[in-house]
Point group: C2
Chain length 309, copies 2
């Protein structure tokens, strides 16, 4: 099977959305524009041996790829519309690709996106996904805008499960169904993202770890700002404390990557959309930017995931 | 230097175009929409050891990447506007990246595109570029529409030079300045692409080799169609015949990849934009789809580049 047959067989589907004027299969795709909206775009990668194990099951690869990409749109308050996929495969043998493509298309339908373009080539397993969505004009929620007086809210599942699953993959821990699910089936918080337009002063997805992503938001705060987190409000994934103890569970929750939650700052007193959990508050800048129960974060914590490591 | 410092240092520039509402540096970029236009999108990859040598000079890597991507927009008749870059690097050491980024930004300015998003990670050298442009509503030129009675036109430089340069890289041929330029500095035919809106019945870029890309256009022809090419009209790159003889020169020109020309079918009698060269005509379908001087293409020719090889 060559590249062109592979694309025709596995990746060409009729687009679901009428805004797709020309989908996969030409030099480029064509989609319509509407002046009431703005286009939101991002690209993300999943590299075998880095973001996922070297021998990666195709359905997990597909789910992590789409979850990771779409989470960026959720973090802007955007509705997803289209994806483009650049896929590098060690071989173009149908088996793995068949399973990958099936899962990928299933998830596209579920999230309401059309695969409108792509590229396939031979090489070490990796995939790069471009996600495209839209927001009503002027309503994208950015990382800039957090300020003293805001509360800090979390939207999405309990934290730390995906990080704990890395210990399972390393053979240090016995398997755990929920951690595996957090790792292999991340759920982009698209509904929450849309509901936070006009309410959140700033928003980010915490795929690189809560503290690291929070520090990006603090970099772009309005005026000087520090964040006070309260450990009793940090939602810990099932069995984290039991297996690792309170201290390490908290470290996993606050610094472990791959939690596809949204972190939003919301001015105190505003009505908060359903599903949010308040985990702290923003105060005027202090010497420490992030405090946990009034104390600096332990020096031993690596603040989050660095893709260059 | 970690991922975030690297992106800040090398890849964040202020956008040139006012349609960019939010550029690089948030979860996603935001650009405006205009209902008189349609958006054109494509993704392309350059993998070291496959599309370029394993040890690839950074400026050549940048030029091939952008050239390859933007050529897809040219082939739709689109004006380029934005790019997103997903870059995988063996190390995040500044040297190579510095040169790459400089060349990349230079070319972005030259082609009038803003880098609005990206992703950097560690791994075997590869880059995936998403290109985004626009066409006035309804004016994109697709691969479908070639029909008997059209002439076949080529826009861009003489053919076969980039293919010949592969023999230089292999050590089979002595170096050649023009071939090296064709290989390392492909020139997307953006002006020609725009000028062919409303004139070309079908268009494609011949990055995978003229005959292979022509066969994609024939797959989507209106009615049955064959193409008669005339070897005397095929523009051969400098010194091809001298070094390889007529037969092999023609093979390189018609099947070698990486010629970033546009191939357009235009109904006979229509005014053809400047710079076009007529290389053949479209007739009613015969048993052979592509004829060269009235004869089938030699069986020994591989029709073009297969990214899955």
């Amino acid at each position: 099977m060559n590249e062109f047959e592979l694309i025709r067989t596995y990746f060409q589907r009729d687009p679901l959305d009428p805004s797709v004027i020309l989908g996969n299969g030409d030099d480029a795709a064509v989609v319509s524009q509407h002046s009431d909206f703005e286009t939101v775009l991002s690209v993300d990668s999943v590299i075998a041996g880095r973001h996922v194990p070297e021998m990666c099951p195709p359905d997990g690869f597909a789910a992590r790829l789409l979850g990771r990409g779409l989470s960026d749109l959720a973090a802007m308050g955007a509705e997803p519309q289209y994806v483009l996929l650049s896929l590098t495969l060690p071989s173009l043998e149908p088996g793995w690709v068949d399973h990958f493509a099936n899962r990928f298309h299933q998830l596209c339908v579920r999230f309401g996106v059309d695969l409108i373009g792509g590229d396939t080539t031979k090489g070490p397993l990796s995939a790069h996904i471009t996600v495209i969505g839209r927001v009503p004009k002027g309503s994208a929620v950015t990382r800039s805008g957090l300020k003293a007086g805001d509360d800090l809210w979390l939207f999405g599942p309990d934290l730390g499960g995906a990080r704990a699953y890395l210990d399972v993959l390393d053979g240090q821990e016995s398997d755990h169904e929920l951690w595996a699910e957090r790792y292999w089936r991340p759920e982009p918080q698209l509904g929450a993202g849309v509901s936070l337009r006009g309410t959140a002063s700033a928003m980010i997805d915490i795929s690189d770890g809560l503290c690291q992503d929070l520090s990006h938001v603090l970099d772009q705060a309005v005026g000087s700002a520090s964040v006070k987190l309260q450990s009793k409000f940090i939602p810990l994934c099932e069995d984290l404390v039991e297996r690792f103890g309170q201290e390490r569970a908290m470290e996993y929750a606050l610094t472990g990557g791959d939690d596809y939650c949204l972190l939003a700052s919301i001015p105190a007193g505003l009505k908060v959309p359903e599903g949010g959990r308040r985990i702290g508050m923003v105060v005027k800048g202090e010497s420490e930017r992030i405090l946990l129960d009034g104390k600096p974060l332990p020096d031993s914590w690596q603040l989050g995931w660095d893709h260059g490591r």
